[in-house]
């Protein structure tokens, strides 16, 4: 099958905005998604070790429930944040994505229910650990393995989607005999190992943040603060070194080692390493981690773009049917409502997190919480009014 078939597989309706914008949104949202994937794997994995230590070690006893809670929230957020890159990739790389999903259709189905099972078991682990102060490790381990299995499946979809049409044809009809079972699997070990390895430094920097956060609370001892800080630094440093080696191997494999984005990533990882080792304020390290995550997301996109355009896929030539009203809705909702709303909840969460045991936050006495709450509520109401007004205008226009 010739490479230009990729252009035939594009949706005949075209894209509703310029492809480069979807590309940018993809890079941004994949980085956010990946951050929570890595934090989920890291905190979940370490909590399994912690659940064995927490019965005999006071520091682990305090830390481990928080690691499990972090894992729980991270899985929820990784699912949520995974929706956006999934959406944007389907808009501009629909050809590869849909082929991968049909060739691996059975695995797609298995992926969904495996993830449901893993997350339900995670809650089991969470409650067992809470009740017994360190129980449920075996259930947690099974859940963790299923989460990793889901990660491998997702990796498989990504790898198949950037395979060549000739490889697709061989998967679909090996030896000329059509196989519609959707049981194809393919992976790239170095790429997978690099991406999974990032969970170590991400966990490390998270632990540094955690240590900084609890250091201002009187109910956490200096010994515990120091313990979590040291643990975080160890994970960050060792993890970054492992990830750096794997990244170089991956770049050599795809022939992009001397590419400007690749070099920028290596430099930024070295800076991150130094920050993790020497910087006292770990929140700044986290901000730099976001830059590194965006660069890695950019590299992934660069690899895909190079492969697809090399096969004759004309991404920027995708016909554009501009769709102004709905992009205006998205941008205004995302920027105005989204950021205000999240600022509102995060402000509250920060203040609640700083409460001493048993204390209650009176949000009405906080100007920030009151103002952000009023604005968020007002924006939601206005949004709803516009929605119904818009709908009625369209309906009247088209039906009367």
């Amino acid at each position: 099958m010739e490479g230009t078939i990729l252009n035939v597989l594009r949706d005949p309706a075209g894209v509703p905005f310029y492809p480069v914008v979807f590309q940018g949104l993809y890079i941004l949202t994949w980085a956010l998604h990946a951050a929570f994937v890595l934090l989920a794997i890291g905190s979940f994995g370490l909590s399994l070790y912690g659940s064995m230590k927490q019965k005999h070690d006071a520091n682990w006893k305090l830390l481990n429930p928080h690691l499990i809670q972090t894992g729980k929230l991270s899985i929820s957020l990784l699912i949520l944040l995974g929706i956006a890159p999934l959406l944007f990739t389907q808009v501009i790389y629909d050809a590869g994505w849909y082929v991968a999903n049909t060739l691996s259709g059975a695995w797609v189905f298995i992926f969904i229910y495996a993830l449901v099972t893993a997350y339900l078991m995670f809650y089991w682990y969470y409650y067992a650990n809470k009740r017994n102060g360190g129980g449920g490790t075996f259930v947690g381990l099974i859940s963790f393995l299923i989460v990793v299995f889901c990660g491998i499946l997702m990796h498989n979809f990504a790898v198949i989607s950037i395979s060549t049409p000739a490889e697709w044809m061989e998967m679909y009809a090996p030896g000329g005999v059509i196989d519609t079972s959707g049981l194809n699997l393919k992976w790239d070990v170095v790429r997978l190992a690099f991406l999974v390895s990032l969970s170590i430094p991400v966990l490390g920097i998270f632990l540094q943040n955690y240590s900084d956060f609890v250091s201002t609370k009187s109910d956490y001892s200096a010994d515990f603060v120091s313990f979590t800080r040291k643990l975080g630094t160890k994970f960050a440093v060792v993890g970054l070194l492992i990830s750096a080696v794997l990244f170089v191997l991956w770049m050599m494999q795809v022939g992009l080692l001397m590419n400007i984005v690749s070099l920028a990533t290596i430099v930024s990882v070295v800076i991150l390493l130094l920050m993790a080792m020497f910087l006292k304020n770990s929140y700044i390290t986290t901000l730099w981690l976001v830059v590194v995550a965006l660069l890695i997301s950019g590299i992934r996109e660069l690899i895909r773009y190079n492969i697809m355009s090399g096969l004759g896929y004309d991404l920027y030539g995708y016909p554009v049917n501009l769709e102004i009203p709905t992009i205006a809705m998205f941008l205004s909702t995302f920027v105005i409502l989204g950021f205000t709303g999240l600022a509102y909840i995060l402000t509250m969460a920060w203040k609640v997190g700083k409460l001493e045991n048993g204390a209650t936050l009176d949000g009405t006495k906080s100007a920030a919480i009151t103002k952000l709450g009023n604005i968020t509520l007002g924006l939601f109401v206005i949004w709803m009014l516009i929605y119904f007004a818009w709908g009625m205008v369209i309906l009247f226009k088209n039906t009367l």
């Binding site: 049909t102 060739l103 079972s181 999240l342 909840i345 009405t364 369209i394 039906t399």
Partner: protein, 450 residues
Amino acid sequence: MDYLGLFPVFYVPDVGSAWLMGLTGAIHIMASHTSVGAAMLFAFLAYKAYKEDRDDLYDYMKRYGMFLLIFSYVIGSITGPGIWYTATAASPRGISALIHNFVWVWATEWVFFIYEVVAVFALVYFIGKIDKKTHLKLTLTFAIASVGTLALIIGIISFMMWPGNDAFYNTGSASDAFFGINTFPHMFLRIGFMIMMSGVIGLIISSAMKRENVELSNELTRKMGYVGLLGGFIALFFFMWYISTLPANAEAVLGLTLDSIILNRIILAILFSLYFFLAILKPQWIGKYLAVIMMFVIGIVGVWPGEKLRESMRKPYVAGQYIYSNQIISRDVPGKGVKSEVEVVASKGLLGVDPWVPDRLRTITPENKLEVGKYLTERACSNCHSLEKGGSYRNMVMLIETKLPGTDKETIKNYMNVIGTGAIPYMPKIALPDEEYDAMAEWIAAQVNN
């Protein structure tokens, strides 16, 4: 070669790939509808707790919230994208059409969804840690965000049925596609069902609280009875309006099964009315096991058949009445520059336009005829029918045995020719070249007479 943008076929023998989507969809509806209904219920309870200065209602909200986190925000949030994934595997061009029309709507829903999930974690874990007024405000934003997710998805799933007029086809505008004639009735129908689901789940929580606080348990069980009745009434009321906004092909399918649907809905309405009245009049009789059983009843007897019906009523289309379930584009959409593919399929055959046919099968020979017939049947029919004898869900063999006057190849082929003329409103009007009909009929006849 003039290929069409078709994707590989994914088919699960005996079941059919589309039914995997249906199963995921039914589970998701239970979870997601509960979450939106519960969000509205939480706003009501938080208001009541603030106004009447009642701490005991927070205990209920916390328990309900913990249940919700698992039921709706684990199962629901995974099966939501899960529908998307399975739809991608089963109907790639259908989902592609929706994505390419509504990507910004979906992206907006994503913003609402993020707020909704972060807010539900916050309002559950902040109980007892923030004052009542602040908690109420947070809960109100959560409720509107949750209803917002419905407001955004409803136009997309309503468009799957049809836009209801020609505006979209001419303009290609997402607004014309989104606000079709059945969008609002569909929305309020679902809001009714969501409120009812929040009552059904609320009864599980309230009945489980008997041991700790029997008075509160009875009070809330009564309230959930009223909530369930209100939701059920709204759902039934808007169901009538919704039915009147359906296209002719949907009415044809509905006509085939109308009696059994009405009977099913009447039985469900009576059963759940009795259940809710019982909760109001004799709250102490509602035990947690009964409440859990009733949740499964609504899922298995209410949601699953309802979703199967909605999916069937769309036939032969999968999206916007311009893409058939078998992924062929059925009409021009000038506003988007989309061209009908029916004509090219009729002249060149599926073998001539499908880029995924191996060279050895592109030309039908006596040696490969059955193999080609099998593939063409999978390509053209498997999105709606299971193909093997004894298979589930609109089994093709069983339909042929019961609906056609004979099971020989010629009878089957003649029937396929009738379908190709468009005489059957719920089947795609696609005429294939005679040799392709012949190969398909031969393979199908072999299955029937096996």
